[in-house]
Symmetry: C2
Subunit: 149 residues, 2 copies
């Protein structure tokens, strides 16, 4: 096996191609990590969530870390780690374009909705449902790839 | 799809059967998440690591969070989230039984070694190598399962 660092371009390609990440947040020195579904566009990861512990943590401390992994043939893999910042996108201050874009990307996948919640039949509207729409600004990213020799 | 909570027994079974987790730690309000390979025994997850950011973070703040995911048939999945505490296990204060057990479990897998490091040919000895042997004590765990209707 040969392990090498990935370029920023390669990291971005992996973020664009994937839909599942592990999202870590922390509050009062306690980290918390959960899987999320996301859509990547313009150095942001967009996602919807039900209110809960991760939203509470990110509202208190916007610093987050994410990891996206893809398995290749045999023992091959790619892994990208992101340092980023949480930003909530309530409908009322206008994020229709981003919301529609994220919804469009995520709704192509049958199983995109976050573990623990069922996929809603229609796009959540923050005025009419409890769903929280947010994005993670990518501050830093790094990746590693393992290839068979 | 039907989503339900998993019992503690089911969560423990998933931790025992899996080898890969996303481990989140935090320091000074900054979370950091990476994939790790582990072996579960007696309410602890055992792992080896090269020194680096996650070891530095966990030495500074032992609180960690982990998530283990398994995909089933179709859209089915199981996901277990662990709250736990880091404990380093230097050889010199005696953890031979735990080290040998973890090594035995992990070395059955060709690709067990952490992303970014190549699998060593022989068991790392902390007196002779830089590898850090540690375990995570499971304080709390919860799990959710999605099944096809």
């Amino acid at each position: 096996m040969h392990v090498r660092s990935m370029s920023t371009f390669e990291c971005t390609n992996l973020l664009s191609a994937s839909r599942v990440a592990c999202l870590a947040c922390s509050k009062d020195g306690k980290p918390y990590v959960v899987p999320i579904y996301y859509a990547y566009a313009d150095i942001h990861l967009y996602a919807f969530s039900m209110p809960g512990k991760k939203i509470e943590f990110m509202r208190a401390n916007p610093h987050v870390s994410l990891v996206v992994e893809e398995r290749g043939h045999g023992r091959e893999w790619q892994s990208v780690v992101v340092d980023g910042r949480f930003e909530e996108l309530p409908d009322r201050i206008g994020h229709k374009r981003e919301r529609d874009h994220a919804w469009s990307l995520l709704s192509r996948h049958f199983d995109w909705w976050e573990p623990g919640a069922l996929k809603p039949m229609t796009q959540p509207q923050s005025d009419h449902s409890e769903h929280v729409f947010f994005r993670i600004l990518v501050d830093q990213l790094s990746g590693r790839e393992a290839k068979e020799n």
